[in-house]
């Protein structure tokens, strides 16, 4: 009997893989192009992914990337399913109540996207009665709830699903990160009839100070990550990765 249990445990250990083999486990999302996406063959790629790998190299640590649902990503960190979040997560006061952040590794504004010629006025009054899609649990949801209270919000699990519904015409507009919209949607075949509308938003109360690396409260690794980002910026490796994805600067001022 004991042997059976031991064998079962060993088999379970094999199945759950080499958890603990890597120095750090990093939660990434995998459905947020061009920052993080999953290729048809199941590989992870994108700006976040490359930055994560470069930072790990910079610190001389081995890292394992753990693909995690966006709306469960902070709980996953807190439950020690991973040791850091590198998933384009904005540093906001609300999130800082729960976790700590490294310095930012990029900062881009948020914008609306709608069908070309939609002729909607992007003010709280003009959007009344319209349907706007956002990803659940993002700064964009908080921003819309705070600044556009009369708008009907549709909440999506991933940004990709939100794009599908915008293309299908189920929502009048989406509110999301401008770079994500540009590369993940507007530059693709599905996004050819759509365009940015309204101003670029960067309200510190909602949008924070850019995307940082999330760690558990009091984790000393926080400063390690910040230092590694700084070194990556100085060595030119950051620009190299950035230009792989963008022809403009996303680090922000």
């Amino acid at each position: 009997m004991k042997n059976t249990i031991a064998a079962a445990l060993a088999a379970f250990g094999l199945l759950t893989g080499a958890a603990g083999a890597a120095d750090l486990r990093i939660c990434v999302e995998g459905a947020y192009p061009p920052f993080s996406e999953t290729t048809p063959s199941g590989e992870l790629k994108g700006f976040d992914i490359d930055i994560a790998k470069a930072l790990c190299d910079e610190m001389g640590k081995t890292c394992e990337l753990v693909k995690t649902e966006w709306d469960g990503i902070i709980p996953a960190l807190l439950e020690r399913k991973c040791d850091a979040i590198i998933a384009s997560m904005s540093i906001t006061p609300e999130r800082q109540k729960v976790i700590d952040f490294s310095d930012k590794y990029y900062n881009t504004p948020a914008r609306f996207v709608a069908r070309k010629g939609a002729n909607i006025e992007f003010t709280p009054e003009g959007l009344k009665g319209k349907v706007v899609g956002v990803q659940r649990g993002t700064i964009h949801q908080d921003f819309m709830e705070g600044e556009f209270p009369g708008v009907e919000l549709k909440l999506y699990g991933t940004q990709d699903e939100a794009y599908l519904d915008l293309a299908a015409g189920r929502v009048d507009a989406l509110m999301a990160d401008s770079v994500a919209i540009d590369d993940g949607f507007l530059k693709t075949e599905a996004g050819k009839d759509f365009e940015f509308v309204g101003p670029a938003y960067s309200v510190p109360k909602y949008h924070g100070e850019g995307a940082g690396i999330g760690v558990r409260k009091g984790d000393p690794m926080k400063d390690e990550w910040s230092k590694a980002i700084k070194r990556l910026r100085e060595s030119g490796k950051y620009d190299e990765i950035m230009h792989k994805y963008f022809d403009y600067d996303i680090y922000g001022g």
């Binding site: 469960g72 807190l78 999130r95 659940r136 649990g137 549709k154 909440l155 519904d165 189920r170």
Partner: protein, 245 residues
């Protein structure tokens, strides 16, 4: 675990419970009306029975999540769907969920009812025919009352499955009970509060349903109860009209 968090957002969950209940009961109801003709056709091998059997086979053979995705995201890919009158319905996540759930529930119900028809004692039907009942009368007065009673326990199980299956609605933007839980979790960056609340609500609804089913069974299936319970049931329903088969 902060128990005040769900209480603070009780309105979110109240809307969720309402959405889940309406979606579940409408789907089961619509499913029944899809299943009845399908099951009759299959049992009698009437024209088109293969079509009905094919429908039941396909919808029982694929997961509800996949069916819902295909109807919600899949159909929306086609321009001709988006330009047709059907788009005013398919545009709404709520209708897509209702259609997918009804078709799914209907497929399971078809199999349940077909099984119940098949186990109808031949004698019941032959006796009715010998007494000069028309085929229509035999169906409505003999076959259905008898078969539906036999199908009831399984059918009630199907309703509970549909209730639990309805969580799929939350992946196509519908704020059902699970959707409310996810929203709460996402808002406060927590893992348990929303899910535990959702689980408790589903459990409460399931127990309420099971209790309701028990009452229905006592009422309509008294003839199948053991003698002692029958006496108790009769006591409870003293004066109620007798519909014992």
């Amino acid at each position: 675990m902060d128990i005040w968090l769900p209480l603070k957002h009780w309105d979110l969950f109240a809307t969720g419970v309402w959405t889940t209940l309406v979606l579940t009961f409408l789907s089961v109801g619509a499913g029944f009306f899809i299943a009845l003709p399908c099951a009759l056709a299959i049992w009698r091998k009437s024209p088109g029975w293969r079509l009905a059997a094919g429908y039941a086979y396909v919808f029982r053979g694929t997961p509800l999540l996949v069916q819902t995705y295909l109807i919600y995201y899949g159909l929306a890919q086609f321009d001709f769907v988006r330009e047709s009158w059907a788009w005013s319905i398919l545009r709404e996540a709520w209708w897509c969920a209702l259609i997918a759930f009804s078709l799914n529930s209907g497929a399971y119900a078809t199999e349940i009812l077909r099984g119940a028809f098949q186990t109808t004692p031949r004698g019941e039907l032959e006796a009715a025919a010998a007494l000069g009942f028309t085929p229509r009368q035999i169906t409505w007065l003999i076959l259905l009352p008898s078969a539906l009673r036999r199908a009831a326990p399984q059918y009630m199980n199907e309703i509970v499955f549909m209730l639990h299956g309805s969580v799929v609605a939350s992946v196509i933007t519908i704020q059902d009970i699970l959707g409310a839980g996810r929203t709460l979790n996402a808002k406060y960056y927590v893992a348990y509060e929303g899910f535990v609340t959702a689980a408790l609500l589903y459990m409460a609804i399931t127990f309420a349903l099971v209790g309701l089913f028990r009452l229905i069974e006592r009422r309509y299936m008294r003839h199948l109860l053991p003698a002692r319970e029958e006496a108790a049931a009769q006591g409870a329903h003293l004066g109620a009209p007798t519909i014992v088969g």
